[in-house]
């Protein structure tokens, strides 16, 4: 318990990353036939974790910070005004696939997006499984049973 629950933070970060990714992939698929649309994706979690996105770096640092922090819907909303909080769009990169480019400037490959979506879902399930097990452990530790 003294380890300030690093594993929960990590799992939370992975779940947030996977759901942001899923949102981006859904947008890509929705625009699969829109002209001059470029597909986007997030960097893998392993690259983001502990990188410049995390406060002070290192595996002990909270993962949910600049890279996928919640953004305030209105600037006046309290609590969300962390410096450097950006939308996920800022860390998203454009997928470059020459083979998927169409004459109208669209480069969404549905097959590629399906694979990416499968990976995002697997990551999400992994993160939720870790969260669930950790919560069970904590419950057991405080004596409530399962």
């Amino acid at each position: 318990m003294a380890a300030d629950l690093t594993i929960l933070n990590m799992a939370k970060g992975l779940a947030a990353h996977a759901s942001s990714r899923q949102g981006l992939i859904a947008e890509n698929v929705a625009n699969a036939d829109t002209r001059s649309f470029r597909a986007r994706d997030l960097k893998p979690f392993a690259e983001v974790y502990g990188g410049p996105g995390a406060v002070r770096g290192g595996p002990g640092a909270p993962v949910v910070s600049a890279s996928f922090a919640p953004s305030a819907a209105r600037p006046g909303h309290a609590g969300f005004e962390t410096p450097g909080a950006t939308r996920i769009a800022a860390t998203a990169y454009e997928i470059t696939r020459i083979d998927a480019a169409s004459p109208n400037g669209n480069n969404v490959s549905l097959e590629d997006q399906m694979v990416r979506g499968g990976r995002a879902m697997a990551d999400h399930q992994l993160a939720l499984g870790v969260l669930r097990k950790s919560m069970d452990l904590i419950r057991m530790a405080i004596g409530r049973g399962r």
Binding site: S19, A26, E27, V29, A30, D33, T34, L110, R132, M135
Partner: protein, 130 residues
């Protein structure tokens, strides 16, 4: 969670746009033999200017194909002119069928993304219900 909701709305906007496209295609096919019919075209636009559904898609205005109409020789037709020709339609069956197949494929992809996102959301909510 909000990302997942945004994904759901993007996927449903995609399904909406694709079904509009499929409707236009079937209108074209239905009127392939109508004299003077110009085939309708639909174009998609990313709705970047609406922040609430950031990069959803919408079917834009329908326009008419300006290619010249086919001239059909049929002297018995009531619309035939002095030389026995009348205007047909400019619908190409091959193009319409290909367009319909592409719309179907994109619709199914959107449906899969919708279902997958929905399942991710419900497993997240299951965690809260424990």
């Amino acid at each position: 969670m909000s990302d997942l909701l945004q994904g759901l709305s993007a996927a449903s906007s995609g399904m909406n746009a694709q079904s509009t496209r499929l409707r236009i295609v079937s209108e074209n096919i239905a009127n392939a033999d109508t004299p003077g019919f110009r085939r309708k075209l639909v174009s998609f636009e990313a709705m970047v200017d609406r922040p609430e559904d950031a990069r959803a898609v919408a079917a834009n205005r329908v326009s008419l194909d300006q290619r010249p109409l086919e001239r059909v020789y049929d002297p018995a037709h009531p619309l035939a002119d002095d030389e026995g020709y009348h205007d047909g339609s400019n619908v190409e069956m091959m193009i319409e069928i290909a367009d319909a197949r592409e719309a179907q494929r994109s619709y199914e992809a959107n449906l899969r993304m919708f279902d997958q996102t929905r399942r991710m959301m419900s497993s997240l909510l299951d965690l809260l219900n424990r």
